[in-house]
Subunit: 358 residues, 2 copies
């Protein structure tokens, strides 16, 4: 079977590029002795990808309980479920020994401590993104640790604001803030008499650009595996390192415009590249069937539910197959049930399922 | 089981509101004698919803071949697959007698005519949206009809530009343009000696606001079933008529801000309400567990993969359950595998599966 035989739209994952991206990140983390990579599987949501990114059942990060359960069943028994837990979700987690949870709330920490199951939790620390977490110097840090008691497994942060960086220097600066914040939190907890086994940080940009990770035990990153147009623009990788594309067919044509069967569901409505200082790639860039930009700059300017409107396109017959590079690979992948896997050519060498839902 | 027992995030569909929305549209179409409603199932993608929206196996519209196959298996043998067909997809359609296809291309029309299967096609007409279709006065209209020969089943258009309207008068004006364009196309084809059985138009706004549908055989609409914040703002229905919400849990809190476990996947990144002239509802509005706006105006301002950041919120404990009204119901529903069905209360009276994928 080749890319010419697949129903469109569908996801195409290039194994060679994936392997290269994994090696690139592994090398970046290996610069820091004693620090392990805990890949985030939120992008791939795929057991076959996990086996490449985290061989030997190595530590992983997940974003949903559905992922936690599926990867646990696949032999991944050292996980962090990296979204703030609720008391109502503790029973599901307790059935998965080795799945660490996170919290930034004293009441939840008490519920974790009181639960009869084998729970283990990290305290979420905010180093400036202001999404979740307590500040490294916040009193709540010590209160949560006290409430968790022996169930405290460590501290965790995510410098998601690294995505606002536009240069390697920006990324390195955010990485330094991330590093300082999480090690400060660990130090305060240790000074108060707590064991802090795990000191976890990461985002794809900071993982690549961190100058020191002294005192950190592990790095988390996910989007680096597949890459996307946004990550390429902020310097995480090159355009040619985008491993995930959406195979699509031309379903309409008029001068300069192609209508594609990859629309808002197949691509997502993510507009990451519309951020200040970036080149706006619309809802994605259209490449040829080999995943190369041979058509020139063809941008998906509008995305309806099942139609993408690509402008700047040469005239091509209806039925022509093309591949769309995504703005934000995590969200583009989310609407699809699996991956058609290729390795640099058009031959489909495998079909890998995704773990969607919650 | 009640809404307190469900894993979050998940979709909640209110059956009472759904039935009311279906009755409202049925009444709007019934104003036009001889015109039938061909509901578009692209929003619901659900057999149980189809049985309510199109009883007795009545005509339906679909947006993917996966929908066509599933609804055909469920007894819906009069369908229009309303995305321009490609030659490569004809074999799949030919296995589903009664599934009409659409095209706006002479080469595709020839492929349809030459296919050995029982195919039947409508010509897609552009009445101003400029997505797909040939103009009513375009020479290509007659050329496509000639190429289709006896496989010509009719003409079809969609005035999607009605969504740019901001008043009933705007909608009525677009509906008049839609009506004039599709009947003009039908007249030209008949004058050229073709049989034109189906004259199909529609969008939720134009279906509700059309003043005349003389010469039209059927109206298509889909989003009216569930409604959303965008449709409420453009007058398709009231806020209280939104039948679909996302059940979510509070996973983080700080003054004025709640972090929810409904993020960019569970809600979609659709920003329809950011359009000019509308009130920007961010990535959705947060209502209470009963689906009422009792919290005041709480807006999801940022959406990360699995986190929604809601601002303007009262302080609520972690684990509190809320419901998010979507910007664009079709896209919000797309990431979910099914619906938890309620009927005005918190009791879950059913779980209905969705037909996702392609």
């Amino acid at each position: 079977m080749t890319l010419d035989d697949l129903p469109t739209p569908c996801l195409v994952l290039d194994l060679g590029i994936l392997r290269q991206n994994l090696a690139h990140m592994a090398a970046a983390v290996a610069r820091h002795p004693g620090v392990v990579l805990r890949p985030h599987l939120k992008t791939a949501k795929c057991v076959e990808v996990a086996r490449l990114a985290a061989p030997d059942g190595g530590p992983v990060t997940v974003s949903t309980l559905a992922e936690a359960e599926a990867f646990w069943a696949a032999g991944y028994h050292d996980q962090i479920y990296a979204v703030g837990i609720t008391p109502q979700k503790l029973d599901r987690v307790a059935a998965l020994p080795g799945v660490n949870i996170i919290t930034d709330d004293v009441a939840v920490a008490r519920a974790i401590a009181a639960h009869p199951g084998p729970l283990s939790a990290l305290i979420e620390v905010d180093v400036g993104e202001h999404r979740g977490g307590v500040g490294p110097d916040d009193d709540a840090l010590l209160a949560i640790a006290a409430a968790l008691g022996p169930r405290l497994a460590g501290v965790i942060t995510h410098a998601g604001h690294s995505y606002a960086g536009r240069s390697d220097a920006d990324m390195a600066a955010t990485a330094a803030i991330e590093h300082a914040g999480i090690t400060r939190a660990a130090t305060r907890l240790r000074d108060a008499g707590h064991q802090v086994g795990i000191v976890s940080l990461g985002s794809s940009p900071t993982a690549l650009h961190a100058r020191t990770l002294a005192g950190v035990t592990e790095v988390r990153a996910g989007v680096y595996m597949f890459g996307d147009l946004f990550q390429a623009q902020i310097g995480t990788h090159a355009d040619a390192d985008i491993a995930l594309t959406v195979l699509t067919s031309v379903v309409g044509r008029r001068p300069g415009v192609l209508l594609l069967d990859a629309g808002a569901i197949a691509l997502s409505k993510d507009r990451s590249t519309a951020a200040p200082g970036l080149r706006d790639d619309g809802f994605g860039l259209v490449w040829d069937l080999d995943g190369k930009p041979s058509l020139g700059r063809v941008v998906i300017e509008r995305a309806y539910q099942e139609h993408g409107v690509a402008v700047g396109a040469p005239d091509l017959p209806i039925g022509t197959r093309l591949r769309v590079a995504p703005n934000h690979t995590c969200l583009t992948a989310a609407a699809h049930e699996g991956y058609a896997v290729v390795d640099g050519g058009r031959e489909v060498i495998g079909t890998w399922a995704r773990i969607n839902g919650w």
